[in-house]
């Protein structure tokens, strides 16, 4: 039986803002785009959630629900730094870490022998370490697979811990309202309700065949989670999916030549990183944010993966021209390479050319 911990920071972005701005503590705080700029809520403090404000809601809607809410623009570089700090803490306990986002991660502590090998005590120690280092609270779920660990971390939020022992797994799932299942969205929930499925126990009564007929390829997943079964391993080596670089200008750009020069510069920067990692990329994406903050991305995939400048540089003018950059002032330009694969000659088996310098 595995021992999995799911760590989830409580209202992460909003909590960081309240930590760094004491005057906002105890107030409803929303991190996200300003309502006047058609922004959305990236995170809401617990005070704001009491007004019914949720992530991904439009900022304008949030303002309707709570007119005195504090709007804060996100500071991703700060969140990223805190996230790294937290990962450093995880790494002191195990190297089996699967980060899901800046504020969430799975840890497999099956092979961990500190604190008597007790996953519960490790989870408590993690929460205490995180609070000591960052003054931020985290909730933890402990169980024998990823699904249950994730469900558990939601149980006693915020600043809580929940352990689902193997003998209690099935019972826990059985009582769980169907809408609370990770992987059951509002649409699926409605559909299940129509079939009389209100809890995990109801779901468990359905056969694999019945589920397949009604829910297609998700059937196997539903069948398993209704029984508290989830064999997915904690994946420590998530492959990076893209490398990008972007820059915001002090003054909006109008000239196409200047924009192209910036894009070329960004491309070179990104290619240097690509080269360092000995990767190829296939897809080039140009991102353009106009002065009015609307943004578009345009992509082009090469026939063959490449790490050469020319192959990608040739695409830039066309990609830029397929945006409105020539008629609208531009405040930000960025370049991303994705569809990454290792360069063929980076493997140990292949011949390799030594560099001169």
């Amino acid at each position: 039986m595995r021992k999995i911990i799911h760590i989830d920071m409580d209202a992460f972005f909003a909590s960081v803002e309240q930590r760094d701005n004491p005057e906002w503590r105890g107030l409803p705080v929303v991190v996200g785009g300003a309502p006047s700029r058609r922004g959305v809520v990236a995170a809401a403090s617990y005070e704001a959630r009491r007004f019914g404000i949720r992530s991904a809601m439009s900022s304008a809607r949030a303002l309707q629900r709570c007119p005195h809410v504090v709007f804060v623009p996100p500071r991703f570089e700060v969140y990223r730094a805190v996230s790294e700090q937290i990962h450093g803490i995880f790494a002191q306990y195990t190297d089996m870490i699967e980060p899901l986002s800046l504020d969430e991660a799975y840890l497999d502590v099956s092979a961990c022998d500190v604190l008597g090998g007790s996953a519960t005590r490790i989870a408590e120690a993690l929460r205490a370490d995180i609070f000591r280092a960052t003054q931020l609270t985290a909730s933890a779920g402990v169980s024998y697979n990823k699904f249950l660990a994730k469900m558990a971390s939601d149980q006693n939020k915020p600043d809580g811990l929940c352990v689902i022992h193997p003998q209690r797994g099935e019972a826990f799932v059985g009582e769980l309202p169907i809408g609370d299942f990770h992987g059951v969205g509002p649409a699926t929930e409605k559909k299940m309700q129509q079939w009389g499925i209100r809890t995990g126990a109801d779901l468990r009564k359905k056969s694999r065949e019945w589920l397949a007929a009604h829910f297609g390829k998700s059937a196997g997943y539903y069948y398993d989670i209704a029984r508290g079964v989830d064999e997915r391993p904690v994946r420590t080596h998530r492959i990076r999916k893209s490398i990008g670089s972007e820059t915001t200008f002090a003054q909006d750009l109008n000239r196409e030549a200047a924009m192209l020069a910036v894009l070329e510069q960004r491309l070179e920067k990104v290619l240097l990183q690509l080269e360092k990692k000995r990767w190829n990329a296939r897809t080039l994406t140009v991102k353009v944010k106009y002065a009015d903050f609307t943004q578009v991305t345009r992509s082009k995939s090469l026939d063959e993966p490449s790490h050469g400048v020319s192959a990608f540089r040739r695409q830039l003018p066309e990609l830029l021209r397929s945006t409105e950059a020539r008629s609208k002032p531009v405040r930000l330009l960025g370049v991303t390479l994705s569809n990454l694969s290792p360069q063929a000659d980076s493997s140990e088996e292949e011949p390799s050319q030594y560099p001169l310098f």
Binding site: A257, E268, L271, L272, E275, G308, V309, S310, A344, D345, E350, P351, S352, Q353, Y354, P355, L356, F357
Partner: protein
């Protein structure tokens, strides 16, 4: 503007400057050649904003003036007129008319004032050397320049002036070519510039093997080479070229001397069965013999044995065969030496009798 001239006197300068005209260009003027007819002289200029080529010829001018014309169209017309054909070129208003015998061509024009000019070369170091000398140091090294490397400063040729010596160095990060010669210069402080790849190729095309002088001017941003009737100007690459001295191999005590032609042919034959992507060949030197081996993913194999001068312990090293062939193709003498240290260190290739050029090649792990 009105000119009366022979096909050759129009074609020759046009062919000299055409290299600067970009095939694809964003500015219409860059597809044109600037023609200035003034004071008994015709000047033609082409540019891609990085390099500028100018050709001058002394010719009678019927009516002075300046205009720009579509360069490739003009070239293609001249090329296909019969040898020795008489040409009249007349510009009125927006059109230029080229007539020769019973042929007539009306070409679009753009005003000379709209033609971009590189800024004047200022704050200069100047020196003069024979064209053949400049051409030699360029031609012996330019094949080793990088192509579109992200290390942009490698996509060019480093020209260094050091006391009385002129030195050219090119490298793509895997191999390096250096050629230096005493040109009797008198340069105070050592000066180093990087000429972009395209400029190097065009300059080499303009230089001839004769002893006529090339007047070189270097500023912080530009190089200008004046050849009398031709003038080459190029922007310089702003960057730090790698320290070539640091990568010159030292303590290479295992020296193989071979006949250049034999070695070249053996390598060329062997390369046929090398891995098409990596082009690796294995060289094994053992008393008096050099064995060249390779194989490819299809399990095909090649082995050649050459008689060479080599005394020393058995030595095995892998190379990209193309790097070795590039060097051999640029040597003039008959005997070549390959100085090796070990399988992981660079080797030094030189020709016997000609001490001006040195070639460094990094090995491959095979």
């Amino acid at each position: 503007m009105k000119l009366h001239l022979s096909r050759e006197s129009l074609l020759t300068p046009l062919q000299k400057v055409i290299g600067a005209v970009e095939r694809k260009n964003t500015m219409p003027a860059l597809g044109n050649v600037l023609i200035k007819a003034q004071g008994g002289e015709i000047q033609m200029t082409a540019t891609d904003l990085e390099i500028e080529l100018l050709a001058k010829s002394v010719l009678p001018v019927d009516q002075e003036g300046d205009i720009t014309l579509p360069a490739r169209k003009l070239l293609d017309i001249c090329k296909n007129l019969p040898d020795g054909a008489d040409i009249t070129l007349q510009v009125d208003a927006e059109r230029a008319t080229l007539s020769s015998g019973r042929s007539r061509f009306k070409l679009s024009t753009l005003p000379a004032a709209d033609f971009p000019q590189l800024e004047a070369v200022q704050g200069v170091t100047q020196f003069t050397l024979p064209q053949s000398t400049l051409r030699k140091v360029i031609d012996k090294t330019s094949f080793a320049m990088a192509q579109q490397d992200v290390r942009y400063y490698l996509n060019g040729l480093m020209l260094e002036l050091d006391g009385s010596t002129v030195r050219a160095v090119a490298t793509d990060g895997h191999r390096l070519a250096l050629c230096e010669t005493d040109a009797g210069l008198d340069i105070g402080d050592k000066k180093q510039v990087i000429i972009p790849r395209k400029g190097v190729q065009e300059l080499s095309r303009l230089l001839d093997d004769e002893e006529r002088d090339a007047e070189v001017s270097l500023s912080n941003n530009h190089i200008q080479v004046d050849l009398g009737n031709l003038r080459f100007t190029s922007k310089l690459i702003d960057g730090r070229f790698p320290d070539y001295q640091r990568v010159m191999p030292a303590n290479c005590d295992k020296v193989v001397s071979a006949d250049k032609q034999d070695l070249k042919l053996a390598l060329t034959r062997t390369s046929v069965l090398s891995n098409e992507k990596y082009k690796g060949v294995r060289l094994v030197a053992d008393n008096g013999a050099l064995t060249i081996q390779t194989n490819n993913p299809e399990q095909e194999e090649a082995e050649e044995q050459l008689e060479v001068q080599y005394q020393g312990e058995n030595m095995e090293i892998g190379f990209n065969v193309n790097y070795m062939l590039d060097v051999l193709n640029n040597l003039t003498e008959e005997l070549v030496t390959i100085a090796l240290k070990d399988a992981n260190s660079s080797c030094l290739v030189e020709e016997v009798g000609e001490q001006t050029a040195k070639y460094v090649i990094m090995p491959m792990r095979l």
